[in-house]
Amino acid sequence: MAVFDSPQEAFGILRPVCIQLTKTQTVENVERLQSKLHVVSDSALQDLQEYVLFPLRFALKTPGTKRESLVQSIVECITFVLSTTCIKKQDLLQELFSELCLCLSSPNSQQSAPVSEELKLAVVQGLHTLMHSAYGDIILSLYQPCTLPHLGFAISLLLTLAEQEKSKQIKTSALKCLQVLLLQCDCQDHPKLLDDIETKQLGDLLASFLPGISTALTRIITGDFKQGHVIIISALKVFYKTVGFIMADEQLARIPKDKEKPSVEHRIAELMVHRDANWVKNTGDKLAALIEKIVEFVSVHPHWKARMELIELVQDLLMKCRQSLLKSVGHLLKVLVGLVNDENPDVQCRCNNVLKNFADQRIVVESRALTDILSENLHSLATALPRLMSSQDDQGKYSTLLLLLGYLKLLGPKVNFVLHSVAHLHRLSKALIQVLELDVTDVKIVEERRWGPDGLAESSSSLSEPPLFKSKSQRKYFRFFTDERIFLLLREICRMLGYYGDLYLLVDHFTELYNESVIYRKQAAMILNELIAGAAGIEVEVLHETNSRASAEELKEIITSILEEYISQKNWYLVTSNEAEGNREELTMKHSDLQTITSGVHTCHLVPLPSSSELSPIVCSMNSNIWQICIQLEGIGCFAHALGIEFRLLLMSALYPVLEKAGDKTLLISQVATGTMVDICHACAYDSPRDLINHNADYLVNEISLNLHQMSLSSHTPIVLEIMFQNSDAGLLPLVEDVIQDVLFSLDQFHDERAASFLSVLRTVLAALARWFPEAKDDKQLQEQNFRKEKYDLHQGSATLGKGFAFTTPAEEIEQFLLDYLRNKDVADGNVSDADNEEEQPLPPETEMNDVCPDVEASLPVQTQIAKDVMERCIHLLSDKDLKTRLKVLDVLELCVTVLQSHENQLLPMVHRAWLPLVHRLTNDDPLAVLRAFKVLCTLGNKCGDFLRNRFCKDILPKLAVSLATQAPVSARAGPVYSHTLAFKLQLAVLQGLGSLCKKLDLGGGDLNKVADACLIYLSAKQPMKLQEAARSVFLHLMKVDPDTTWFILNELHCPLLYEPPHPSLHPVSLSGMAKPRTEYTDNVLLLLAELQG
């Protein structure tokens, strides 16, 4: 479409339509004009602006009722003209302004005329465009005292529209227009460069409308939820722009005290207000009420954009009108505080930014008044907190606590003003303590037990798991809430207190509470932990950096004192299980020992407590105690994090108690303690708990030794000692030497009461020794093996001979045998040639080795000395009247033998002394003891070999044989249940061990026969399968010791082959097992013979 650039051309086109419109005012004509306007360029139209406007205005002004559609199209046309041109004359602006306003006014009433929605919209938009088309100084002419009534009319018109119309579009446009009208437009192209004086004048002028505007807007904002967030947002914007402009502290500061002489007529002057202090105060008060309403309503508005706008409102008002709106500051801050953890991340973020902004500008910190308000709020919140906590639901509690957290964050270092007031501090602490009350009715926590000693070892391998401190530890159950978020919030609150508050004061206060009553203790400890974490700045989100924080040195001092409190006798050693220690132990002993016998694996059990209803108060208090210990343990982990590497120094007092708890029988405690160890490792830069223990063994040893000296206190000491040994290396030995002596000394003194726990310590000690000094063992074994092998080879030789005789019978072999026989006979007669003699010495290195170690009383290595000392005690305790003790002693004895094996000079005398009681255990004792004793015997046979041969044959073998023989018919008859009996286990163990024992002891003919005789019956197919297998294993061993005899014995029982003599001159071989029908022994014998052959 052609555009007419020059005014002349444009005029040519527009003139006819304008004339026509002036003559006949119809919608069509207006539309025609408008369509022509479209083809006129902006600049041309600017020149012809008044010309074009004239017919339109004329049409509007013509008296008489007009059709609405006409008015509407006229207004739209005017709007179009104004949108492309600008107004350069004041009077034109004023006239247009009033003409437009009049379109909506009914001449007779105050109410807006009952016109169509479209017209209203057109007018509002027309006004909007008009305001935008005016130049800066021109537009100001509209804001003179004399135009006050016009303005007032327009404003009230718009407000009415915004409030009462149904159409959303009209409402929003009206609000936008209002915003423009109040010169608060935020659009880009709107010129709004006002200098200070103009601003002030404008403010003075608009102040007259403030009450009306603000109340109307408040009504709009707090109106129907359903009206949609867009309107609320616009209304909020207008509200804060207006209030922020009129009540701006900056402007108010410049208002002179006295009212200026009004330069206008009296009536109008009456409308003007003077913004003096009094006015400000009154208005502030009234606004406060409105703001409170708004805040209450919008802060819970479901749409996040509305809440977002509210934040803007708060920011704007707080930035501009802190002083004039002093009364509202509390409400405004509450918004921020409440929204800082809003569910919408954008709102959250914005709110945080605003808060940061305030904090950066130190608005809160430096303004005394604000601090007062905040502390007042905090105080009233703290007062209400206990009530709220017990009455509100979780969501309510959550928001209440959010508020508390927000106040603390905002107050920052100023929180001390509040804390230094005793009343405030009491309120706050009581509230926290009340909320944090734990639910201690869970029986499971008391019941769950730890089994097996190696909980720590599992976790000590690596530090892969995250520190307990960060991960979710065992969940705590609280009486007053279930939502985990609330707990996290409470934690953050405490940390915030620790971060900003006076740490000495807080710690003192809560330590007092901690000591005051058992009811408070757990909560106070929890709070103390978090205070310290906060003070160290762990995981605290802060708004203000504070420089008043406790220094590292102070922190250390404080932590030391809390730690002392935690691990003091009365707070650390609490009753956590309701059985007397002894009973329980006995019970568990039975369990675990049976298990070690069968499978050697410890598993977890749940021993049910007696019905919990009758015990419940006790259970509760035990549960409470368990939790207290756990919280304290967590605290120690927390302290470690707070101090970092500095905590290493505190390990000298802290590590021992933690380890003590790591060995606790209650599952939860030991888990938490293990977690604490991991925490400490993280904080103090140790690779693993093992590393931690290893590096700090000296501190542990110190505590252990001191505790051993005071037996009454140290029921846990053996556990720690055990854990320490499990986790250390040989470097520990010089340190613990004297402790072991102490243990032995204590054992001597208290062997009635404490033998069990000490024996388990000794077992650990010796197991550790055996682990630490394996090299000696290796040598010995290697040597032993060589020796055995040689012997074995010898036997192999003869075995092949035997075999040859029995089966292959080549003539040369018989010849060789005879030659050997003759030579042996010669040797036996003493006719030995030198050469032969030399050959006959197969073991020179052996004897040499013995010579190398001179038989002098050199000082023994420490480990040997210890093992010897321990073994000494074992000998005494072997005949203890308590079965449990005897079993443990047997365990320890076995380990002693292992450690001592490379020192025969020490070992053999001890074995000699231990022999007699051991025989008693083996021959007439509880089957359990017999089992263990037999195991010890096997080890002894392994290590001492020949030394025991005679004793074994004399003292034990006959009895063993008898017992095997008497038990055989029983087991042969028994049903499937028999394999679960102790008798069966005993049989099995004996049969399994006997073979290798015979081999190790190198038993000779007669004794071997005894063994074979006793075991023979177990080859019967009537015996349980396992026993048959074990019996076969005995014979397999016997074959290695003496194949010929074994072959013979077996063949006596059953001989599968007939042996034809190779030469008629020889007697036929006749064995009693020959040509027997198949018997119960046949299968096993055949198996064994096949083995012997192959």
Partner: protein, 334 residues
């Protein structure tokens, strides 16, 4: 600050040639004494025990009175010839000094704070160590000719860098003169002799023990000293204005053999190291038995009190043949 120091050796004439000198002690200037009440019995358990010296501990010396940032130290000399420097904060060995060729070290003492250390060993050598900045080598040494067990004594008063050192000897070298200090020496024949060092003359001689004097200590505040010997008696003697030694009282003990005696710097407590494995504490004023510290499992060889640091933090350490050093915090409440 590497200063080369030389040792002024003053050996003493052994005028009487009665016996081998067993114990030496310089008497510093006198000061007025304060009397304070003695506390009630404390539970006898050491505060902590230092382990790891790996041989019997012969001598102990505290050094706590230094700048704030350096930790309190305890020096120990062992039978194995090593000197261990224990950090009392971490309770671990900071440094190990090896300068006596594996021969027993039986006297250690610091000079001027923590950095200069004197040590005397059975290798007949007296070493001076400079420990500043983590050094651990002897800077000077002095050969001795006494093979006895007598510990040296050093007088640190006077100008800086000038000490008077007394070490046992057996012949009569000419000593350099000084400002007239007094020296107490305990002898194998059971006597204690007061020497005037500048005059090189015996001022007083007191035969108070039947057995050799093992150790002595002197409280210049009360002008009283105490000596222990291998017998069952503890002997307290006083020094009057005329420089005469007089026996004040004797204290009977349950078991014979006192290896070491030490009076706490504040003059309230006397500690003895007994061959009976026990450390005994007495009120120094009345010699009232206060406590028996029973921890060690072998003879206690030495006892030492820490320098008076902050009140309530004075430590007592006992070193024993069982290779342990027990550190006690007893009677600390003021």
């Amino acid at each position: 600050m590497c200063r080369r120091l030389s040792l002024d050796v003053e050996k003493f004439q052994e005028c009487t040639r009665l016996a081998v000198c067993q114990s030496l002690l310089f008497l510093p200037g006198r000061c007025s004494w304060i009397s304070l009440p003695v506390m009630a019995l404390a539970p006898p358990s050491p505060q902590f025990v230092l382990r790891g010296s790996q041989s019997a501990v012969n001598t102990l010396h505290f050094s706590c009175r230094s700048k704030a940032h350096s930790p309190p130290l305890l020096f120990s000399g062992s039978l194995g010839g090593l000197i261990h420097v224990w950090n009392l904060e971490t309770r671990r060995v900071d440094t190990t000094l090896d300068g006596h060729a594996g021969q027993s070290v039986y006297w250690v003492k610091t000079l001027e704070g923590q950095h200069l250390l004197l040590s005397q060993g059975r290798d007949l050598k007296l070493c001076l160590w400079d420990l500043a900045e983590g050094r651990n080598a002897p800077v000077d040494s002095l050969s001795l000719d006494s093979v006895g067990f007598c510990k040296g004594s050093v007088l640190t008063e006077g100008t800086q860098g000038c000490w008077l050192l007394a070490v046992p000897g057996k012949d009569m070298d000419e000593p350099a003169s000084s400002s007239g200090p007094l020296l107490l020496a305990g002898y194998e024949d059971g006597s204690v002799i007061l020497w005037d060092v500048s005059e090189r003359s015996v001022l007083s001689r007191l035969a108070c023990h039947e057995e050799p004097v093992m150790s002595l200590d002197f409280d210049s505040g009360r002008a009283r000293g105490v000596s222990g010997s291998s017998e069952k008696v503890l002997c307290v003697w006083s020094l009057d204005e005329q420089q005469n030694l007089k026996v004040c009282r004797t204290q009977e003990l349950t078991n014979p053999g006192i290896a070491d005696v030490a009076i706490r710097p504040d003059g309230k407590i006397l500690a003895t190291a007994g061959w009976d494995h026990r450390i005994r504490l007495f009120g120094w004023k009345q010699l009232k038995p206060l406590a028996v510290l029973d921890y060690h499992s072998a003879a206690v060889h030495c006892v030492a009190f820490s320098d008076p640091g902050r009140p309530g933090e004075q430590l007592l350490a006992g070193g024993s043949k069982d290779q342990r050093i027990s550190v006690w915090s007893v009677y600390n409440q003021t």
